[in-house]
């Protein structure tokens, strides 16, 4: 546009020149008029005498002047007006003008030729500018002369433009390539960041799960610790109870011994009774014999012994009763003996049961003692487990927090890389646009 304006300006300048020339001609005209007027003025000074002449001359002069004016107007003003119109067109930027050359040798003809050359030059320059504006920088603008400022300016402008465009194209190419690299790197970065974010998300989830598991583990460990402590108390009380049981069992054993001894003493007493009974039996026997002998004596005594015989008979009866009583006692003693034996057997069995009970209680005590030891160890282990679980939980908590931070940072990373990617895309678009712009130029 600027070029066009410049052209217009130039054309206008040219037209200005033309106008100046016209004005000069007008001034010349006026000078001619002045020259014509001068006699009139002298006539004026001799007004009275020359008024007639003057009037006649003036009328002749006016008529001559009118005729000259019409002739000049016919011969000079019309072509000049046509040229002025063309100049106006050119000044308006319209180069599509038809200069009808009159091939006159005069100034008008020369003006026409000059105008024609001007329009041709302007047209060439316009064409060149059109080509440049179409992006063809391969054109060569031949300066019309050494002093063709516009041609030289156009040539240097084309050259400069060509060089700059070439540099721009090169830069755009480098930019496009770089942007491609940046795009690829950014894509990779975004993909990496996304993958990292996904991995971090998974890891966070896993860590959260681990935390829950650790929580449960910690609670369980606490529970185990508590219950094993209770178990330890129970087993200790079991141990005490077993010891008490053993002590009681030993007491029972002692008492069983006493019972057995009492029964044996009782049995021996029964034996003494048996001996006494034997004596009584013997006495009864002897009493019987004595009674028989008494009755023999009574028989020998005859009638006088009759009463004695009755006494003897009575004694014999008593002896018999004693004998029967001793038999009964003996039977009872036998029963007692059997009962005693049964009691002894029962006591023996009881004692044996107590002894085996003692052994079993001792075994149970030993077992419970072992149990207590194991349980005590278990309690220690459970306590340690609980402590480490708690520590683990704390560690996992820290890890969860760290993972949250990492997650946040990763999300930011992803955002940044996405922004970076979109920026790179914008850059790529810009590069493409630049490339398209640059491609429009043929260097």
């Amino acid at each position: 546009m600027a070029l066009i304006n410049i052209f217009s300006y130039l054309q206008m300048t040219k037209m200005g020149n033309e106008i100046a020339t016209l004005e000069e001609q007008i001034a010349l005209h006026q000078e001619i008029d002045g020259l014509i007027s001068d006699p009139i003025l002298q006539i004026e000074r001799n007004r009275q005498s020359t008024i007639l002449w003057t009037t006649i001359l003036t009328i002749v002069g006016v008529v001559v002047g009118l005729i000259a004016t019409v002739a000049i107007t016919r011969h000079i003003t019309h072509p000049l007006r046509a040229i002025v119109d063309i100049a106006k067109q050119v000044a308006n930027g319209d180069l599509n003008v038809d200069i009808a050359s009159t091939h006159r040798g005069d100034e008008v003809g020369m003006l026409e030729n000059a105008f024609e050359n001007l329009v041709i030059g302007l047209t060439e320059i316009t064409m060149a500018a059109n080509q440049i504006s179409a992006g063809d920088l391969t054109i060569k603008v031949e300066p019309r002369s050494e002093r063709d400022v516009l041609g030289h300016a156009l040539t240097s402008m084309v050259t400069t433009l060509r060089e700059q465009t070439q540099e721009m194209v090169d830069g755009v190419n480098i930019l496009t390539a770089s942007v491609g690299g940046i795009m690829a790197a950014t894509s990779e970065l975004t993909a990496g960041a996304t993958q990292t974010a996904a991995a971090v998300s998974q890891t966070t989830t896993t860590v959260t799960q681990v935390r829950q598991t650790a929580q449960i583990s910690s609670e369980k460990a606490d529970m185990v610790s508590q219950s094993s402590r209770q178990t330890a108390e129970i087993s200790q009380s079991g141990e005490t109870a077993t010891k008490d049981t053993i002590a009681k069992m030993q007491q029972i054993n002692e008492q069983m011994k006493l019972v057995a001894e009492s029964i044996v003493v009782f049995s021996e007493k029964s034996q003494t009774i048996g001996e006494i009974i034997a004596t009584v039996n013997d006495l009864a026997d002897q009493s019987n014999l004595l009674a028989v002998n008494a009755s023999i004596e009574a028989a020998l005594a005859g009638e006088q012994g009759k009463g004695f015989a009755v006494v003897a008979q009575e004694i014999r009866g008593l002896a018999e009763q004693s004998k029967q009583a001793t038999t009964q006692v003996r039977t009872i003693l036998r029963d007692i003996q059997e009962a005693t034996r049964a009691a002894i057997i029962t006591t023996e069995q009881g004692s044996k049961a107590v002894v085996s009970g003692l052994e079993q209680s001792a075994n149970a005590g030993e077992a419970i003692r072992h149990l207590t030891e194991s349980v005590t160890k278990g309690v220690q282990a459970a306590t340690q487990i609980a402590a480490s679980s708690r520590e683990q939980l704390v560690g996992v908590d820290q890890m969860v927090k760290a993972m949250e931070s990492i997650k946040l940072a990763t999300a930011q990373n992803v955002d940044s890389s996405k922004q970076l990617e979109s920026a790179a895309k914008n850059l790529e678009a810009l590069g493409q646009k630049l490339k398209q712009l640059a491609d429009r130029y043929q260097v």
């Binding site: 009755s295 028989a299 008979q313 014999r316």
Partner: protein
């Protein structure tokens, strides 16, 4: 279940106490006991006929056991009964002569009636009794298993020895009562020739 496992010591103590008191108490017959005893005795007395049997009508005998049988000997031939404590065997005598005994300084020979009667013999029991018999010129002891005692047997009740009693027993039996009491003829035994021992050792 509680009752089965728990011993009722209360009851045991009560029973023991009862036994203690029963043992400690002297036997004092109650009115019931006294009546019972008196009634029994009255029955016994009532059973005997009121008539006093005379010496002619009754035979005073001593009952004794020999093996499974009950025998009796006339009391007139019996001097004494004696519980055998020790016996001194004699050599060169028939097998039925068991030995000699010392009764208050008197020496008697002792005859085993079971051997004499050829009854099944048993080992000499510790409680064996000896009945010392005597006539005017002879006295010896017979070994019996047990002495029941003396009694009076009505002469009428004595029947001749049945034919089932054969052999040696039949020979020495004086008679049999209705209660199957075999009354031996002491005189026959005492005067038996076998009793006179005349053995020449080595002769």
């Amino acid at each position: 279940m509680e009752d089965e496992t728990t011993i009722d010591w209360e009851q045991i103590h009560r029973r023991l106490k009862a036994v203690e008191t029963a043992i400690g108490r002297e036997f004092i017959p109650t009115e019931q006991n006294k009546k019972e005893i008196l009634r029994t005795r009255a029955e016994q007395l009532a059973r005997e006929d009121g008539r006093e049997p005379t010496a002619e009508e009754t035979l005073e005998v001593i009952e004794f056991c020999l093996a499974t049988e009950t025998y009796a000997l006339e009391m007139a031939y019996v001097q004494e009964v004696y519980s055998l404590k020790e016996i001194t065997p004699l050599p060169c005598v028939p097998s039925f002569v068991k030995g000699i005994v010392n009764v208050r300084g008197q020496i008697f020979s002792v005859i085993d009636l079971k051997e004499f009667f050829a009854l099944p013999t048993e080992e000499l029991a510790a409680l064996n009794k000896v009945i010392i018999m005597h006539t005017d010129d002879m006295e010896f002891g017979i070994l019996v298993d047990n002495i029941i005692g003396g009694r009076s047997v009505p002469r009428k009740a004595i029947q001749p020895a049945p034919s089932t009693l054969t052999g040696v027993q039949g020979k020495y039996a004086k008679g049999v009562t209705s209660e199957r009491l075999i009354i031996l003829d002491a005189a026959k035994i005492l005067t038996d020739r076998r009793m006179i021992v005349n053995e020449n050792v080595g002769g």
